[in-house]
Amino acid sequence: MCAIASISDNFSSPSPTSQVQVLNINWFRNKPDGDDEVSMTMNISADLQSLFTWNTKQVFVFLAAEYETPQNSLNQVSLWDGIIPAKEHAKFYIHTTNKYRFVDQGSNLRGRDFNLTLHWHVMPKTGKMFADKIVMTGFYLPQSYR
């Protein structure tokens, strides 16, 4: 049954869309333990309705800041996440500060450019989970703390 469900899911071709705006950098500092941290307010909007099929239990969606630093070849920091239990809730627009702390391993964030990537993980009622993402580029942090 798992196999049949997964195979039928392969036939759907979803076309989700998303847009994120960083409205404000609320504060940006170097913490006493040496790591940089930034707080920002964003508008996140997306239409993930096309991901839902008869076999979809929920869609887990999260927005991650992704960037590179001299010491780490990849950093992925989840800033916000949500669970979409049904198709009716899959088209949304939210105005929020980052739900999870945006903290670097080190003090490499000044002037850093980063991508904001909206990831989604589709959890089926039965069968294989699948995931994908939309990468939005062009964001950057201030040159100095504030």
Partner: protein
């Protein structure tokens, strides 16, 4: 005869999925509504790097029971070593409270597998 076949299937699954424990049962409600207590998960451990969003099964040093949570932060170093932070979808805070004393991150060797379905 039945026990032997079950053992062969189990070992076969271990081989194919590359995981120590290819099937696990969900024990807590920390991943609801996605996974409920009693749900069975299939695991697979490939050499692919660990990325945010993946659901992983890990053991904390000194604890018997594996935990199934989602990766929310990844810091990958130049040499390929990775520091990972996890959190249950239904939990308010991340898993640092569950890790061993003084432990801030999980590394690859803590992770037994990824949930695939």
């Amino acid at each position: 005869m039945i026990v032997t076949s079950a053992l062969i299937i189990w070992k076969g699954l271990m081989c194919i999925t590359g995981s120590e424990s290819p099937v696990v049962v969900v024990l807590s409600g920390s991943m609801e509504p996605g996974f409920k207590r009693g749900d069975i998960l299939f695991l697979h451990m490939s050499k692919e790097p660990i990325r945010a969003g993946e659901i992983v099964v890990f053991n904390v040093d000194g604890r018997e029971i594996p935990i199934v949570h989602r990766v929310i932060k990844v810091h990958e170093h130049e040499d390929g070593e990775v520091d990972v932070l996890t959190k249950g979808d239904n939990n308010f805070g991340d898993d640092r409270l569950l890790y061993a004393q003084g432990q801030m991150w999980l590394q690859r060797h803590h992770i037994m597998g990824r949930a695939v379905g």
